[in-house]
Symmetry: C2
Subunit: 355 residues, 2 copies
């Protein structure tokens, strides 16, 4: 039986990505006879991979020409310290919107580098909504940092934020799921392992002219400028993760790009939320206005039924549906590669469940 | 025709590693129906991978019980800043042995963090030997950093260094190629992409009790203690790279471990160096006493013949033999997975070459 993979990340990838990645590991057509993972990253074949991947990201997100795109090691967690390392000026402050576990981790790292202010937090409500906020422009502000999608709590900042301070966004779990107006951001960054590729690589989209304005010395690997200057090849990049990401980028382009993804994702999310709202035994955990279209978090009103529902899901080939311990219940991650048929399959499973 | 892959890194891996990695990307047996790269790193199946890999490293290198082993993102280049970040005390100095490009890069990062002294360098001789050195123990010294194998210049520190200061070794390009006495080192670190796995992961073997002794705040991702405390799972680890590394670790254990690798590697290196020394047109670039058993660097005495030799190699299915621009000529990287038959094939090619 084909499994329906609702895992929160690493997570479902397009079938063409999986097949292409497996084939390239076995024998990479662009490097006859050898595997993708045993050839030089400086080979013209792999340099072409990075070039095409960067160009595809620019096309898909309509990135303005005054932005650079780089691939980085280390996942978004490394960028939690890179952002303040590169951008938090010594006589200014950084603002953070605290919307969940990943925001909180980013805030913790920023505090090591300078004045860091949490302008709003929904922590007291177990992060079940996106808090409103106002910015006091009397202060000198290096940037405002937001997390656009909160994987664990199932909330999302779905519209681009309008602000007159430099805006930094962690889009790890919703990048490429919808169009964004890149020009509103100074840096967008994202770990690959949701909508792009395997774990082990992240991307950053960086506005030109914003770097080099702090006094602190920055280690080469943590300096965005290093990776811009070296076209993501300062050191040996995570070859497999970048190649696999490229396969997904090709799939995105062949399937209508982020506009089409937006329509698909909205349809999938509506299908699932409607059933959760209709069903007498279930309820969603996030405020309706802030519900994520990537991670649908829901619970059984009576926790005693949880094991039975998980068992039903498992019997139906549904994988990765257990909720994060911070929220409990269930979480259906329905990233780009998730088909509406698989969501319908889960909806059928919920409908069938009588407790 | 099967290619003979002499690439310096990413580089040749055992056939069983390539095949196992490709199969797991297609469909991971331990997670029926799903790909290795689309399942949770917190799944029991993947936690077991990390556990087995760590245990295998400990067994293969006979790591004493007072050492921790972790997998890290970012390659050895990230550890160039992590070493001083974690270990260079504010009132002490770090010593570096400068034996090539990678040492020099490590030195550059250390200087950002404090007093850094190059105790010896062979730079004036284009790094063609390992310089001798003495340590002035009147100073308070946080550590001595060495690079045991110099991929680009073809030199190697083949015997464990005896010193009474804490010893840190970058073993990126010769780890698992021979036994080492781990107890002589405070930290051994290595990028995976030579003798272990694909690019995108590195390992560190860390003596207990050496961390937490500097005053500077350390970002979580750059703090070795974070990764020790979280069993290499602080954030989403590079799943594919770790799994693939495990396959190589299994191959190492099945093939006699590092003792057997040492014998194999010495035989391969001798075969190739003997031919280079015998052949009237070729010569090695590194001092004989310091020749690497991993990367054999050699030139044609008359550079005019270079293109012809490269063409001959290509016609014989020899890949990755062109030397680094810093040395010129040729470089044959004969890591663990390289068979003696492939080395013999290259030797035949050299013998056949008449200019």
């Amino acid at each position: 039986m084909k499994k329906h993979n609702f895992s929160s990340g690493p997570s479902i990838l397009p079938a063409s990505t999986i097949e292409g990645a497996a084939n390239a590991v076995k024998e990479w057509d662009d490097f006859g006879g050898l595997s993708l993972i045993e050839v030089s990253h400086r080979s013209s074949a792999f340099v072409a991979v990075v070039d095409e991947a960067v160009q595809s990201i620019k096309e898909l997100l309509n990135v303005p020409s005054n932005y650079d795109v780089v691939f980085l090691h280390g996942g978004a967690s490394l960028q939690f310290c890179m952002i303040p390392y590169n951008l938090l000026k010594e006589d200014e402050k950084a603002l953070y919107l605290d919307t969940g576990t990943w925001s909180s981790k980013a805030i913790k790292e920023a505090k090591l580098f300078g004045d860091t202010e949490v302008i709003a937090s929904s922590k007291a409500d177990n992060f079940n909504h996106i808090p409103t906020f106002e910015i006091n422009n009397d202060d000198a502000i290096s940037y405002l940092h937001i997390t656009t999608n909160n994987t664990i709590y199932g909330t999302q900042i779905y519209q681009d934020v309008d602000t007159n301070v430099p805006l930094i966004a962690d889009m790890s779990s919703d990048i490429f799921s919808r169009p964004v107006d890149v020009s509103k951001y100074d840096i967008i960054y994202a770990g690959a392992q949701k909508n792009l590729g395997p774990a082990g690589v992240s991307i950053a989209i960086i506005k030109q002219g914003i770097l080099g304005k702090t006094a602190r010395p920055i280690p080469s690997m943590l300096n965005y400028q290093t990776h811009i200057d070296k076209d993501s090849m300062f050191n040996t990049p995570p070859v497999f993760a970048i190649y696999t990401s490229l396969l997904t980028l090709r799939w995105l382009k062949e399937n209508g790009g982020v506009e089409a993804m937006k329509d698909r994702n909205e349809a999938k999310a509506k299908l699932l939320y409607d059933e959760i709202d209709r069903h007498p035994l279930f309820e969603g955990t996030a405020n309706k206005a802030d519900r994520s279209k990537m991670n649908i978090t829901f619970i059984l009103k009576d926790k005693a039924f949880e094991e039975a529902f998980l068992a039903l899901c498992e019997s139906k080939g549904i994988s990765g549906i257990k909720g994060h311990r911070s929220v409990g219940g269930f979480r259906a991650s329905i990233y780009n590669a998730m088909s509406i048929e698989s969501v319908q399959h889960l909806v059928n499973c919920i409908q069938e469940f009588k407790g």
